[in-house]
C-alpha cells in the first residue's frame, strides 16, 4: 500500500528537498519537542491523573478517588475565600491598569521627546524583583509610620492599617500591583505612536473635540493593545503569588490571622496544599479548575473583544 501511495499525486506535494529539510528541521526542533513532551504534555496528563487521586509524596499508597477531589475543592471554605480575594483584586487591578495605563501613555504621547525619560522612570518599578516589591511595600504600607500613611495623614485623610486590618489588605495589594504598571504603559505608548496623525488633523477640521478624538480615533486604533493587556493582566492577576507570599506567608509570625485570610489567593492556597501539606492530588484538582477558569475567561474575552478590536490590516 505504501509503495502505491508514493505514486499518488497527492504525495507529490512535498518535494525531495522538503523531505530532506524535514530531517534537519526535526534536529533543530528537538529541544522543544523533547521539552514539550517531558515538561508540558507529560506533566499535563500526569497532573490530570493526580487530580483523581490522593497522591502524597510522603505516603506509599495511592488511592483513586474519582471526582472526590473536585467535589472537595468546590466545598472548601478556604477555596471560596481565596476565590473571592483573587476575583476582588483582579476586578480592581485589571480595569485599573487599563485606565491608569491609558492615561499615563496619553500623557507621554503629548510631550514629544521628553517622553523617553518619563517612560524609563515608569518602567523602573518593573525591574524590582517581586520579593523586593513585597519587602518594600511591607515598609511603605506600615500602619503606624509607613510612607503612604504619613502622606495620607499629611493631607488629613484616614490612615488605615493596610497590613493588618481586614478590609484594607486587598486595596493595599492593588496599590502595590499598580506601582508596576510600567509594562502596560510601554505597550500603550508604542500603540499610540502608530495612530496615524492625519486622522486627528482631519477630525480637527471637522470640529471634533479632544474627547471625541480619543473615543473615535485613539481607542479603535489601539484596541489591539488594550485587548492584549486585558488578557495578559487577567491571567497574571488570577495567578498572583510571589509578592503576596513574600509579604504575608512563610514563617513570619508577624502577620495577623485576619490579614492572612484576606491575602489568601488561589495560587497561594494551591502552593500550601501542594508543597506544605503535600496534598498533591488535591492541589492538582485545584490547578485544573484554575486552568478551566482561565480558558473560559479568555474565550469570553476573545468573543467579546472581537466586536471591538480593530486590526490594521482588515
Amino acid at each position: 500500500m505504501t509503495a502505491q501511495a508514493d505514486h499518488l499525486p497527492g504525495k507529490g506535494r512535498w518535494s525531495a528537498l522538503q523531505r530532506r529539510e524535514l530531517g534537519w528541521a526535526l534536529l533543530f526542533l528537538a529541544p522543544w519537542i523533547f521539552g514539550f513532551i517531558v515538561f508540558t504534555a507529560g506533566p499535563m496528563l500526569w497532573s490530570f491523573y493526580l487530580s483523581f487521586t490522593n497522591y502524597d509524596p510522603l505516603v506509599e499508597s495511592v488511592d483513586f478517588l474519582g471526582l472526590r477531589n473536585y467535589e472537595r475543592v468546590l466545598d472548601d471554605r478556604r477555596v471560596h475565600q481565596s476565590l473571592i480575594n483573587t476575583v476582588f483584586v483582579a476586578v480592581l487591578y485589571v480595569p485599573g491598569t487599563i485606565v491608569v495605563g491609558l492615561f499615563l501613555a496619553s500623557l507621554l504621547n503629548r510631550v514629544g521627546r521628553a517622553a523617553g525619560f518619563f517612560r524609563t522612570a515608569f518602567y523602573l518599578p518593573n525591574m524590582t524583583p517581586a520579593v523586593a516589591v513585597g519587602a518594600l511595600f511591607l515598609l511603605l504600607l506600615n500602619g503606624q509610620q509607613g510612607l503612604i500613611n504619613q502622606s495620607l495623614r499629611g493631607v488629613g485623610l484616614p490612615a488605615p492599617f493596610w497590613l493588618e486590618e481586614g478590609p484594607w489588605v486587598k486595596p493595599g495589594i492593588v496599590l502595590m500591583l499598580l506601582w508596576s504598571i510600567g509594562g502596560t504603559v510601554v505597550i500603550y505608548f508604542a500603540a499610540l505612536r502608530n495612530v496615524p496623525v492625519e486622522q486627528y488633523e482631519a477630525s480637527r477640521l471637522d470640529g471634533a473635540t479632544a474627547w471625541q478624538q480619543f473615543l473615535h480615533i485613539t481607542i479603535p486604533h489601539i484596541s489591539g493593545a488594550i485587548f492584549f493587556t486585558l488578557i495578559i493582566n487577567t491571567i497574571y492577576a488570577l495567578q498572583l503569588f510571589t509578592e503576596i507570599y513574600a509579604m504575608f506567608f512563610g514563617q513570619q509570625q508577624a502577620q495577623s490571622a485576619a490579614a492572612q485570610s484576606e491575602a489568601l489567593f488561589y495560587v497561594v492556597y494551591l502552593f500550601q496544599q501542594a508543597f506544605q501539606n503535600f496534598n498533591m492530588g488535591y492541589a492538582s484538582a485545584m490547578a485544573w479548575l484554575l486552568f478551566v477558569v482561565i480558558v473560559a475567561i479568555t474565550i469570553i474575552q476573545v468573543r467579546v473583544s472581537r466586536r471591538f478590536v480593530y486590526y490594521e490590516g482588515e
Binding site: 512535498w14 523531505r19 529539510e21 524535514l22 526535526l26 533543530f28 526542533l29 529541544p31 522543544w32 521539552g35 514539550f36 517531558v38 515538561f39 508540558t40 506533566p43 499535563m44 500526569w46 497532573s47 493526580l50 500623557l107 503629548r110 510631550v111 518619563f118 524609563t120 522612570a121 515608569f122 523602573l124 518599578p125 525591574m127 524590582t128 524583583p129 520579593v131 513585597g134 519587602a135 518594600l136 511591607l138 515598609l139 509610620q145 510612607l147 504619613q150 505597550i187 505608548f189 508604542a190 500603540a191 502608530n194 496615524p196 496623525v197 495567578q239 503569588f241 510571589t242 507570599y245 513574600a246 512563610g250 513570619q252 495560587v267 494551591l270 502552593f271 498533591m280 490547578a287 486552568f291
Partner: protein, 306 residues
C-alpha cells in the same frame, strides 16, 4: 516595519516642534505652551510617585534603626553599618548573590540559544506538519504554570535534582514557547536569498544558523536574554519548592528568608530588610540601564504583535 513607522511619525511630529522652539516664543500659541507645561508637570508628579519608593528604600537602608521611617530623604547621619550588620546576621548573603548570578546567567543563555534554534526551524525550514507544530507551540503558551508544576517537581526530584540549583535553569535548555514566537518573527524578516547563497557554498544548516542568522538577529536575542535574566533573578516559586539548603538560596529566596528571619523581619529591624532589598534590586536596575532599549523595544513588540 512597525518601528520604521514609529520613527517616521515621531520625526514628523518633533520637527515642527524644534522649529517652533527656535523661533521666537511668541509665535507658539500660548494655549499650547500652557497645556504642554501641564502635561509635563503631571508626568513629573507621576515620576516622583514611581521613583520615590526606590529612593526611600535606599535612604532607609542608610539610616539608624530608630529613624527608618523619618521623613528626611537624605539620612542624617548617614550610616553604612546596616550592610555589615546584615552580613553578620545573614552570613550567607554573598553566597546567595553568587547563586543568583550563576542561575540567572545559565537560565538566560540556555533559553536564548535553544529558543533561537527552534525559532529558526519554524522560520526557515518548510516541512510537512510545520503549521500544526507551531500551533501546538502557541497553544502551550496559554497553559498556566500551576498545571504542570507538581509533576515537574516530581520529575526533577526523581532525577535526583531536588535541593540543587539545576531545576532553576535546566528547563531552559528546551526552549520557551514565548521566546520562540518572538524570535521567529525576527528570523522571518531575514531575506531567504541570504541563506540560499550559503547553501550553494555548502554551509551546513547549523553553521548557517549560527554564523548568518544569529548575528543578524542580535537585538532580538538580547531582548530574550535580558527578559530571562530578570525572570530568573526574580523567581521565587522554583527556589521555594526545590531548595532546602540555605547555602543554595538565590537572592529572591534569600530575601524572603530575611523577611522571615526572627532577628530581622521578626524583630522589625526594617533598616536591615531595606538593605537586603537594595542589594537584591540594584543588579536589576543596572541591567535595566545597560539594556534599556532592549527592554522597552521587547515589551512594545510583544504588545503590538500579540
Amino acid at each position: 516595519m512597525a518601528t520604521d513607522q514609529t520613527a517616521q511619525t515621531g520625526a514628523a511630529r518633533s520637527t515642527p516642534r524644534r522649529g517652533a522652539a527656535a523661533v521666537a516664543l511668541g509665535q507658539v500659541p500660548l494655549r499650547t505652551l500652557v497645556s504642554r507645561a501641564v502635561y509635563v508637570a503631571l508626568l513629573i508628579g507621576f515620576t516622583i510617585l514611581f521613583v520615590y519608593p526606590f529612593v526611600w528604600l535606599i535612604s532607609a537602608s542608610l539610616k539608624p534603626g530608630a529613624e527608618v521611617f523619618s521623613r528626611d530623604i537624605i539620612p542624617d547621619p548617614i550610616v553604612f553599618e546596616n550592610y555589615p550588620r546584615l552580613f553578620e546576621l545573614v552570613p550567607r548573603f554573598p553566597q546567595w548573590a553568587y547563586n543568583s548570578v550563576v542561575v540567572s546567567l545559565l537560565a538566560a543563555s540556555t533559553v536564548t540559544v535553544s529558543s533561537a534554534l527552534v525559532a529558526f526551524a519554524f522560520a526557515y525550514f518548510r516541512f510537512p506538519g510545520r503549521n500544526v507544530l507551531f500551533g501546538v507551540l502557541l497553544a502551550s503558551m496559554m497553559l498556566p504554570g500551576v498545571v504542570t508544576m507538581i509533576p515537574t517537581f516530581l520529575i526533577w526530584d526523581a532525577l535526583g535534582f531536588y535541593d540543587t540549583l539545576t531545576p532553576l535553569w535546566a528547563g531552559n535548555l528546551f526552549a520557551s514557547p514565548f521566546y520562540v514566537f518572538l524570535l521567529r518573527q525576527f528570523f522571518l524578516g531575514l531575506p531567504r536569498e541570504l541563506f540560499e547563497a550559503a547553501r550553494v557554498d555548502g554551509a551546513s544548516y547549523l553553521r548557517m544558523w549560527w554564523t548568518i542568522a544569529m548575528p543578524l538577529t542580535r537585538p532580538a536575542l538580547i531582548v530574550v536574554f535580558v527578559f530571562e535574566l530578570k525572570a530568573a533573578w526574580t523567581d521565587l516559586f522554583k527556589p521555594l519548592i526545590f531548595l532546602r539548603d540555605q547555602g543554595l538560596f538565590t537572592l529572591s529566596r534569600g530575601l524572603k528568608a530575611v523577611i522571615d528571619n526572627p532577628a530581622i523581619g521578626g524583630a522589625k529591624e526594617w533598616e536591615l530588610l531595606a538593605a537586603a532589598g537594595v542589594i537584591t534590586t540594584i543588579p536589576m536596575i543596572i541591567v535595566f540601564f545597560l539594556g534599556q532599549r532592549y527592554f522597552i523595544e521587547g515589551i512594545a513588540t510583544t504588545g503590538s504583535k500579540g
